[in-house]
Amino acid sequence: MAAPAPAPAPTPVATPPVAPGASAEPLLSVNNIEVIYDDVILVLRGVSLAVPQGEIVTLLGPNGAGKSTTLKAISGLLRTENGKVTRGDIRFMGEPIANAAPESIVRRGIFQVMEGRRIVEDMTVIENLRLGAFTRTDGARAQRRDIDMVLDYFPRLRERTGLAGYLSGGEQQMLAIGRAMMARPRLILLDEPSMGLSPLLVKEVFSIIRTLNRELGITLLLVEQNARMALGAASFGYIMESGKVVMDGSAPALMDNEDVKEFYLGGGGAHRRSFKNLKSYKRRKRWL
């Protein structure tokens, strides 16, 4: 079973740009950016990546590499954490958006699903979903239809009538993704969507991601720890470490890479290494 039958796919609100000749330009391009928190802590040191229209691109890397920071730099949310893009530029549909106000970036069609769910706890599921559609202007009826669509994707949420704060971790994750769907953006930045989800739901989420991409034409930049799933869904991947992109390539190429296999996929493809038997602490490879 793939995704539960999605509601008749409505046409995307944010139609991809059709300007001729624009196809050479990726939808989103990040050029050599540097990010500093609190005026002193340098976190990203020259990160470049591109997300073409209509693709799923994934960003992998260990904890603390700066993946979330990269996403926040794109969505402008960095500002709210006292961070700044101090060098390089970020272009969305050819226009610079580095350090722009987050709400204006959302209006342009970039929507970030933040790490750690971040739903509005003292609102109900429906209210959270309505909030997702805040920037939309296509009327209450379209939004109601979309709410139905989201609830079809995540039937569990339908039964949850209390405050969202009382949902279980996984339910909150569903809600966060559903909220992004409500915004109908051009580009969704997904920060670890599979975190805390059961295997079944991880599969569902990834098939939803593919559906979003294929049927609604939404482009995605996906930060994931579940590299197997991520590379399975994406067409291209970047690997970050210590604030730098250390490797990139098409998804199949990355999946074939020995280092990627070792550190992100858990040993050579088919036969998994057992967690139990890693008696000695492993070698560490760093691309520094």
Partner: protein, 373 residues
């Protein structure tokens, strides 16, 4: 993994003991202690040899205006430190700190006047009495949280203020109570010079105590309660106990500050401990920096000096030809008030994390210099 420790390069610690010193480096320790010693000396010298008071620089340290500002900084600073324990460290906003300050002031005067307890003993006892009242009014903190608690403390402020006027036997009712100067071995601290040294000593002791508290078990528990009380509970911390205890501690410090106030002015009246003072205390710690012992003092300095500086500024404005404009002549006093309000606003816009934060940043900058960024 980025290490975010901000310590000067080349400063390595070889033992945990080194790592837990009061001052970050030997240098800051020397500067800090040296500064305080110099202060004692500079104030003490003209006191011992009155002739020195006429010397150019030493004279400033015998100037009772400066000293009275210093005394105010000490006594409000102690109380602000207490409030910072409650608000900054434990995360419970209090709008009733002035009331506890008042309890300390009245208690100390009462203990001394009615029971003949020497002032130097009455002051710590007053701290304890204030702490008892603090615990009483802090008890609801076991159940009430956040702004609800803040408003409950506002209620405490008004209730205690009302009691000040009501409890004649204790406070002298609406006509207030007299207080005596502290004495030690027959030596009275009744001039600005001596009282400054007296208050300074108490302030230093209480600052050290607070700093120690914050780096040991109970201090950490307070911060834990603020940052994440649910996980604090699972770490074995009794939430109720610490929430209420921080009220007691805050009130203790406030009480000592109030007692110092009483024995400096030698008169205590309920009028002095209004909600406005409570708000000023809050201003001190917010401006100084929440959750910083040092910040409490810095903020107090700011709040005590601000009106004085503004008054000075207005004096200068008055001296210019501009100052003769009729609208200014009448409005000078209002302008000063407005300037105080504006200073607070501007300060917070540009320094929302308080002076202590800026202090740390400057230090980090210099210790990383020339490799900042």
């Amino acid at each position: 993994m980025a290490s975010v420790s901000m310590r000067p390069c080349g400063d390595f610690r070889t033992s945990y003991k080194d790592d837990s010193r009061l001052f970050d480096t030997a240098l800051t320790a020397r500067i800090g202690i040296g500064f305080l010693l110099a202060l004692y000396l500079l104030v003490g010298l003209p006191l011992a040899f009155p002739g020195l008071a006429d010397w150019p620089v030493l004279g400033w340290f015998a100037d009772s205006y400066f000293l009275s500002l210093g005394i105010q900084i000490c006594l409000y600073g102690v109380a602000a430190m207490g409030l910072n324990i409650l608000v900054g460290f434990t995360g419970q906003i209090s709008l009733g700190h002035a009331a506890f300050f008042g309890v300390g002031a009245f208690s100390s005067a009462w203990l001394n006047n009615t029971w003949g307890i020497p002032v130097v003993l009455a002051i710590p006892l007053a701290g304890l009495m204030a702490a008892a009242v603090g615990l009483l009014f802090g008890a609801p903190a076991a159940r009430i949280k956040g702004l609800y608690l803040a408003i409950a403390t506002l209620a405490a402020q008004f209730i205690i203020e009302d009691l000040f006027v009501r409890l004649d036997w204790f406070t002298g009712g609406s006509s207030g109570a007299m207080a005596n100067a502290p004495e030690l071995f027959g030596f009275a601290f009744d001039t600005d010079q001596t009282y400054f040294l007296f208050a300074l000593t108490i302030t230093i002791v209480l600052t050290v105590l607070a700093t120690n508290l914050m780096r040991t078990r109970d201090g950490r528990a307070l911060v834990a309660v603020r940052d994440h009380y649910l996980s604090a509970e699972v770490m074995g911390i009794n939430l109720t106990r610490y929430r209420v205890m921080s009220f007691g501690l805050a009130a203790f410090y406030a009480g000592i500050g109030g007692a110092l106030y009483a024995h400096y002015l030698m008169f205590v009246s309920a009028e002095a401990f209004t909600i406005l003072l409570s708000i000023q205390f809050l201003g001190m710690i917010i401006i100084g920096g929440l959750g910083s012992v040092k910040g409490s003092i810095l903020g107090t300095i700011f709040m005590v000096l601000l009106p004085e500086v503004m008054a000075g500024g207005m004096g200068m404005l008055q001296a210019t030809e501009w100052g003769n404009q009729p609208f200014l002549v009448n409005g000078l006093a209002f302008l000063r008030e407005m300037a105080i309000g504006a200073a607070i606003i501007l300060f917070l816009i540009f320094e929302p994390d308080g002076l202590a934060h800026r202090w740390r940043q400057i230090r980090a900058y210099w210790s990383l210099y020339p490799f900042s960024h």
